[in-house]
């Protein structure tokens, strides 16, 4: 069962990746064709493996944050008027990554990743903090963050992947890269728009 969930998640990610590379948003009414093409590609055998198994091999089990962003992107292809991933979610992912990755990769003796295992004495604290953050996000209107946290905690509760670690369900490096790129692009566009505005005023 965990393999099924993970393979479906890998398929979703690969689909979003292909749609981005193929610029399916510009295909107009031809978008169903893209879905069919990528679906066929996913189950294409290469040697002993299917393409989707390569995706799972390389990228491991994908977090709810990644799946949420990929899902929104794919939904935009179907409904171009649908909302984009808000910047607040990107900042949330980057903040969590900043807390988690450097220490987990060996910077300190304290390992925040270990907190995500149910046997760790700080596990309940992490669980409560995340639940609190989720409720707070919901109450303050940051609903995308609340949805990601709720689904991550739920997926951890049901252990839908092989992982027994709560962090794995919340974020992964792909979500971090996507958020980093989005924030940088937003920053660049802001700088350019100010530059343009000041140019127009001077003209």
């Amino acid at each position: 069962m965990t393999s099924l969930f993970s393979l479906l998640a890998s398929a979703l990610f690969f689909m979003a990746l292909c749609f981005g590379l193929l610029q399916v948003k510009r295909w107009g009414r031809m978008w169903p064709l893209a879905y069919v093409l990528v679906a066929v590609l996913l189950v294409l055998p290469i040697g002993h493996w299917l393409v989707v198994e390569f995706v799972r091999g390389y990228f491991s089990d994908l977090s709810i944050a990644t799946l949420f962003m990929c899902s929104l992107y794919l939904w935009q292809v179907v409904r171009p008027t649908a909302g984009k991933v808000p910047l607040s979610l990107h900042w949330f992912i980057l903040a969590v990554a900043l807390l988690l990755y450097p220490m987990s990769m060996g910077l300190t003796q304290f390992d925040p990743f270990a907190m995500g295992y149910a046997g760790n004495h700080l596990y309940n604290l992490l669980l409560l903090m995340l639940t609190g953050a989720g409720l707070l996000a919901w109450l303050t209107g940051l609903r995308h963050i609340a949805v990601v946290i709720a689904l991550a905690v739920l997926a951890n509760g049901f252990q839908v992947y092989e992982s027994q670690n709560l962090w794995v369900y919340l974020i992964d490096p792909i979500a971090v890269i996507m958020s980093l790129v989005s924030v940088l692009l937003k920053g660049i566009s802001l700088v350019f728009s100010r530059y343009k505005t000041s140019d127009m005023k001077n003209a």
């Binding site: 491991s60 295992y117 669980l127 709560l166």
Partner: protein
């Protein structure tokens, strides 16, 4: 109504998730499980026997691991193929029949295709097996698999055997890092806790290079992880247990400037560890294996060299410590005792299996075969 459903759906899911997450099985703090003491015969004569393992079975082989079976036989595993990291590398197994004093013909027990099928993902190569015998009689095989690039992108897997290694159940992948679950490796012996859980002596090699104990149950569920060290140069921990709370780990130094075996101690069954310190034992970035004998003395196998010499692994020493690994005295060399520069051999990846009074020492010999040296407690005593 629908409006209220939408309004409270996310908090509701959050609370449901919280409840299920809260009741996930954990583990209480536990003590180390120590093997029952054997009855040492005080008048036993020293034993020293040598055997070769895996001769002519593959072009290149490495990383042997062994467990003692209940009938006194030994079960071994290693990886072999055209060369290290090649896609044709498989994990092989052989049994040492104690009565006949001979090794069986090696047989393949795992290859990357089987692992791919078990884990439903692409696997590029396999390596570093570690066998473990649980007090319940189940044999576990831990090994690394790689999907991406080099060993630094390894993932750790586990497989069980209920018939002394004759057949193996489907592998399970252990999720141990937040970074695409890559860079957890294993080399040395695994420890047991009194509640039946297992402490895998693992290490990490991407960005940071450090050691940790990963606690899992027999079903392959990861319960917790205890960091032994942090930073970027202490890998391949070899843990020695002195009592149910005290453990010392000796570690390979992977830096370029220290070149000494590193040591850390835990007084709370591995939950927390002291700062690590370099001992005076030379270490040319090569694996060590430490064990405790029947009289609580510590022993360590290591390559006695620094990187100043051209061939850093052309000897293999055995040292003893009377102060839980703080100071060491080299007592014997299994290879190249004169430390001749002309010896172009590579003797690496030592492993020790204790079975009562018997001590079985293994190491890779030029990647061509493995040496198996059988000694006993009396032989160790005679070295002192």
């Amino acid at each position: 109504m629908t409006k209220y459903l939408i309004k409270f759906s996310v908090p509701f899911l959050l609370i449901i998730g919280l409840m299920f997450s809260y009741y996930l099985p954990g583990a209480s703090d536990s003590k180390f499980y120590l093997n029952p003491e054997s009855n040492i015969l005080l008048d036993q004569t020293p034993v020293f026997e040598r055997f070769d393992v895996g001769v002519d079975s593959a072009k290149s082989m490495h990383s042997i691991t062994t467990v003692a079976l209940d009938n006194g036989d030994l079960l071994s595993a290693w990886y072999a193929g055209t060369r290290e990291g090649h896609t044709d590398v498989e994990i092989y197994s052989s049994v040492f029949h104690a009565e006949k004093k001979e090794w069986s013909k090696p047989k393949s027990i795992l290859n990357r295709y089987q692992v791919s099928d078990d884990l439903n993902r692409y696997i590029k190569k396999v390596g570093n097996p570690v066998l473990y015998r649980h007090p319940s009689g189940v044999t576990a095989l831990f090994y690394v698999s790689v999907s991406m690039a080099g060993w630094a992108t390894s993932q750790l897997n586990m497989s069980l055997s209920y018939d002394n290694g004759q057949s193996w159940h489907a592998s399970k992948r252990l999720v141990l890092t937040p970074f695409l679950n890559i860079s957890t490796l294993i080399k040395n012996d695994v420890i047991t806790y009194q509640d039946g859980t297992i402490g895998i002596t693992a290490y990490h090699e991407l960005l940071g290079e450090f050691s940790h104990i990963v606690r899992v149950d027999l079903a392959g569920n990861v319960i917790d992880s205890y960091r032994i060290t942090h930073g970027d140069h202490t890998i391949q921990p070899s843990v020695m247990l002195y009592d149910d709370k005290t453990a010392v780990t000796m570690m390979r130094d992977s830096s370029h400037d220290i070149e000494k075996v590193q040591r850390a101690i835990s007084l709370d069954a591995g939950l927390t560890w002291s700062d690590y310190h370099a001992t005076k034992v030379d270490n040319p970035n090569s694996a060590v294996f430490a064990f405790v004998d029947e009289k609580q003395r510590s022993w360590m196998l290591f390559n006695d060299a620094t990187r100043n010499t051209e061939l850093t692994r052309n000897n293999l020493g055995l040292a003893v410590s009377f102060d839980q690994g703080q100071t060491w005295q080299t007592k014997y060399y299994f290879e190249n005792p004169e430390k001749l520069e002309s010896d172009e051999g590579r003797y690496a990846y030592p492993w020790v299996t204790k079975s009562g009074d018997d001590v079985h020492i293994f190491y890779t010999w030029n990647r061509e075969l493995f040496k198996h040296v059988h000694v006993n407690q009396a032989w160790l005593e005679a070295l002192l």
